[in-house]
Amino acid sequence: MPKMLLSCTINDEPAELLVQPYHTLLEAVRDVARLTGTKEGCGTGDCGACTVHVDGRPVASCLVLAMQVRGRDVRTVEGLAANGTMHPVQAAFVAHGVPQCGFCIPGVLMSASALLADNAAPSEAEIRLGIAGNLCRCTGYTKMVAAIQDAAGRMSQ
């Protein structure tokens, strides 16, 4: 099949990617743009490891066709830090000792950062719901929730 040209913004920079019409956004990001921070855990939208932002909203990139993001704004975990400074939720994940194996972490961070952009002071229940689409097998989520609460507090200061 002839490839198609996908023009979009990835992590604040204009991107032009040659993709197959059947490529998912996950494949475009990982295999074509070579941004491998975004992970595939299931390929069916059930685990959240592939979560990225499209126009600021968290989406499972394995369920989106690459060409659907034409002209849109895509952000991956590599674009979460700004000007060399970690996003507060990234810094909180480090300080709270959240990452273990780390495979789910990029997806959780994208869900958490989208939540905090939406809701500056989420309750514990809102945080738990906000990352309920992200499966983590190592942490039991307790430290994640505390770290997101901590980040929310720092961001509102």
């Binding site: 990452p99 495979f103 499966l135 989520y141």
Partner: protein, 777 residues
């Protein structure tokens, strides 16, 4: 190794709560897993898998697939002379030869320019199957006329079991009477019939636990590169690079020295990545194509044909006196191993009869093969299933006798020195202290008020449950080096794969042993060509064994450093101390030499200062049992049976907390895996042996929204031979939740449930049965 290391150097070392070195990489997406490795000419592989659980392979024709542009190799059993009939393990049976023995077993392998082409090629392979009768139910599979799973002459395999637990396998044997009974064993003490006849209360229960998947988020993945010299490099998601190298070498008949395994960051293993699963086929595809080949399983493949934890059925019959005193225990354990043998029978028998002390017992165990994927370890293999049975049973007995269940368990819980069923004494451990920490917790103290508040004011039924579970971590020889670098920092080198934050603990141990702050220590996981030989990261033994080697290597490097400093400063070693970044002469603060100066002099032309390289090679003979108690406060919707957890506490004997932050994470994560066993997980098979829930939508893992905060309490009962008294911490927290939840459900409802997972459906049906029995509508 029989001495406790007690150095309390004044450094930032052992006991410091500190985030992992690799956390910044992990939160920025820079950590490299197998799927992130980019190599020139890398091909992508897919496997064609049998849709049938048991079938004869009549014909495989890959002609059309081979003709597809972009396909570089298609392998079937006919192309692989290394494949032998009567495969002993899954790795040996990488492709079915003439018979498939479980649904999802690979029958062909494709390497292509990309995954889309590889997937298309799978559709072009023609396979003709003749369906054969299946053995799906383990109890039926034990019958002499059941459809045979293994080929005649296939022997039981206990190597995997031995990788995990230090409890020696005794009394297991194979049998030829029933074709699918791969092993059986029996442990007995005393006259059970006579003791049972004296009992005031006899309780019988049959506990069932389904097969579950380890659930790591990164599926099995490997890249292999077979170079023109016949040397092989494997990038693997593995729990043990040296074990992976050994298994690939054995399966393919290649000398180990020709294989280099590079352990990439492991995106979760939990026992499921001890065995090589995709590596041998990746090597063969690379050999066939002359290019590096990536083989990464999909989630569906993981659930269909991974290496799950066994299905377990445990029938218990216990006799006690009116005051609860245990008299006799009779048990039969059936472990469903899937298509290849590998279960840990003895561990289960020992826990059933010896965590609580039964003066007379008769415990029989059977490992049974069925036409399902073969099992592997899952974090404390067999312990969650076994403790679910025995702790539930004890709790049930206490409630029947009107006794406080926690006090009752504490009365008869093992202590150091008591004899286990295999006549080995229990080593000193903190099981009792863990239980006591939880009986002092407000959730337990206030359990009557919590229960009384249920069923009124719109609340559901409320209950509290407490259980304990343990593990006997394994031991394995290992080695490590500690090098002083030119800048005065330490480089610690092992082959240890960091699946649990262990590298941080090893670094803290090196800091403490040598006498520098943690900030001056780097830890490196080498590949199999460069690292000193290191054991598997499994069996909760990395800190206990590799940690001991790092401690000794650090001490060795310290002594070498002091010796050099003594010569340079012209004093004796006894007059020296290591403080901050320098070696100083005691009482003469201005006479000192910086570590960086020693390091630089050892890296200078013509210098007489030898490089500092501490090393240690150890073998072990003392194990350290590790227990964790768990406490659940929950509420049940009486109409739907839905469980809401209001609180969950883990108290664990860690011996000595090397890195408390990392241990908390282990305890919380382990507890949630344990809760998954308890509440939601199970691989479900139909009568033809087909998996009916091969997706994470239908195989339900717990999410953040299902759970409360997991509270942790660390107990420190030092392990005599552990580094600084440390015990293994990875496995114990996965053990006790199923019993804790079942105990809480009985507390709330009066209903004792014995089949995992404890789903809303089972709870609601249990309530209906209870009400019928009580004469309600």
């Amino acid at each position: 190794m029989t001495t406790v290391m007690k150095t309390t150097r004044d450094v930032r070392g052992v006991g410091l709560s500190i985030p992992r070195f690799d956390a910044p990489e992990k939160v920025t997406g820079r950590t490299q897993y197998v799927g992130d490795v980019q190599l020139a000419g890398l091909l992508q592989a897919r496997l064609l898998r049998s849709p049938h659980a048991h079938a004869r392979l009549l014909r495989i024709d890959a002609t059309r697939a081979r003709a597809l542009p972009g396909v570089r190799a298609v392998l079937t059993a006919a192309d692989i002379p290394e494949l032998k009939p009567m495969a002993r393990t899954r790795a040996h049976a990488m492709l079915a030869i003439d018979r498939v023995v479980f649904g999802g077993q690979p029958v062909a392998a494709v390497a292509a320019d990309d995954l889309a082409i590889a997937d298309e090629a799978l559709d072009l392979i023609d396979v003709e199957y003749e369906l054969l009768p299946v053995a799906v139910d383990p109890q039926k599979s034990m019958l002499p006329d059941a459809p045979r799973v293994a080929d005649r002459g296939t022997e039981a395999d206990t190597s995997e079991a031995q990788a995990h637990s230090g409890i020696a396998a005794t009394g297991t044997q194979t049998t030829t009477q029933a074709p699918n009974i791969a092993q059986q064993g029996r442990l007995t003490r005393g006259d059970v019939a006579a003791a049972m006849a004296q009992a005031d209360l006899i309780v019988e229960n049959t506990f069932r636990v389904p097969m579950v998947h380890q659930g790591y988020i990164e599926p099995h993945a490997a890249i292999a590169d077979f170079d023109p010299n016949g040397r092989i490099t494997i990038w693997s998601s593995t729990q043990g690079s040296f074990a992976c190298r050994a298994e690939v070498a054995e399966v393919l008949g290649i000398p180990e020295a020709r294989i280099k395994v590079i352990p990439m960051e492991c995106g979760g293993g939990f026992g499921g990545k001890i065995r090589a699963l995709v590596e041998p086929l990746a090597v063969l595809l690379s050999k066939a194509t002359g290019r590096p080949v990536s083989l990464i399983m999909t989630r569906r493949e993981e659930l269909l044909a991974g290496m799950p934890a066994p299905g377990v059925i445990i029938r218990l019959k216990t006799g006690v006196k009116q005051d609860g005193t245990p008299l006799a225990l009779e048990a039969e354990t059936i472990v469903e191993a899937g298509a290849y043998s590998g279960a840990l029978l003895t561990m289960s028998a020992v826990f059933l009869s010896s965590v609580y002390l039964w003066p007379a017992f008769d415990v029989r165990g059977f490992e049974v093969l069925t036409h399902k994927p073969s099992i592997a370890a899952y974090r404390a293999p067999m312990a969650p299933q076994t403790h679910f049975a025995i702790d539930s049973q004890m709790d049930h007995i206490a409630r029947k006798l009107g006794l406080d269940p926690a006090e009752y368990k504490l009365r008869f819980l093992q202590q150091g020195g008591d004899l286990m069923a295999n006549d080995q004494p229990w080593a000193v451990n903190g099981a009792r202290e863990c239980m006591q920490a939880l009986t002092a917790h407000p959730f337990w103290r206030d359990r009557e008020a919590w229960r009384a508040s249920g069923g009124r004011d719109g609340h559901g039924l409320r209950g509290t449950g407490l259980a304990i579970g343990g593990w006997v971590p394994n031991i394995q020889p290992t080695s490590a080096t500690v090098r002083l670098d030119s800048d005065g920092t330490l480089a610690v080198l092992t082959g240890s794969v960091d699946i649990a934050g262990t590298n941080m603990g090893l670094a803290l141990i090196a800091a403490e042993a040598y006498g520098v702050d943690i900030e001056n220590v780097r830890i490196i996981t080498g590949d199999t060509d460069t690292a000193p030989l290191t054991g598997l990261s499994a069996g909760s033994k990395t800190t206990y064994t590799v940690g001991a080697a790092v401690a000794e290597a650090g001490e060795d490097a310290r002594q070498q450093t002091l010796k050099i400093a003594a010569r340079e400063l012209e004093v004796s070693v006894e007059d020296l101390d290591l403080r901050g970044d320098s070696v100083v002469v005691r009482g003469v603060p201005d006479r000192s030499i910086k570590l960086s100066v020693i390091g630089k002099r050892s890296n200078t032309f013509g210098s007489k200062v030898p490089p500092v390289l501490g090393s240690s090679s150890l073998a072990f003979d003392v194990q350290a049992p590790a227990f964790a108690a768990q406490l659940a406060r929950l509420e049940i919707d009486p109409d739907t049976g839905e469980v809401t957890l209001h609180g969950f506490v883990v108290a664990q004997d860690v011996g000595k907390a090397i890195n408390p932050l990392g241990i908390e994470g282990q305890m919380q994560g382990g507890a949630v895996q344990s809760l998954g066993f308890a509440l939601s997980e199970g691989l479900l098979y139909d009568e033809q042996g087909r998996l009916t829930n091969p997706s994470l939508l239908d195989y339900r893992k717990l999410t953040a929204a299902d759970l409360p905060d997991i509270e942790t309490i660390m107990i420190e009962v030092p392990a005599p031979a552990g580094p600084f008294g440390a015990r293994g911490v990875g496995e114990p927290p996965i053990v006790a939740a199923p019993a804790a939840i079942a105990n809480a459900i009985e507390d709330a409802t009066g209903v004792r449930l014995v089949e995992l997972p404890l789903t809303p459906e089972k709870i609601a049906l249990g309530l209906v049965a209870r009400d019928r029995a009580n004469g309600h509508a």
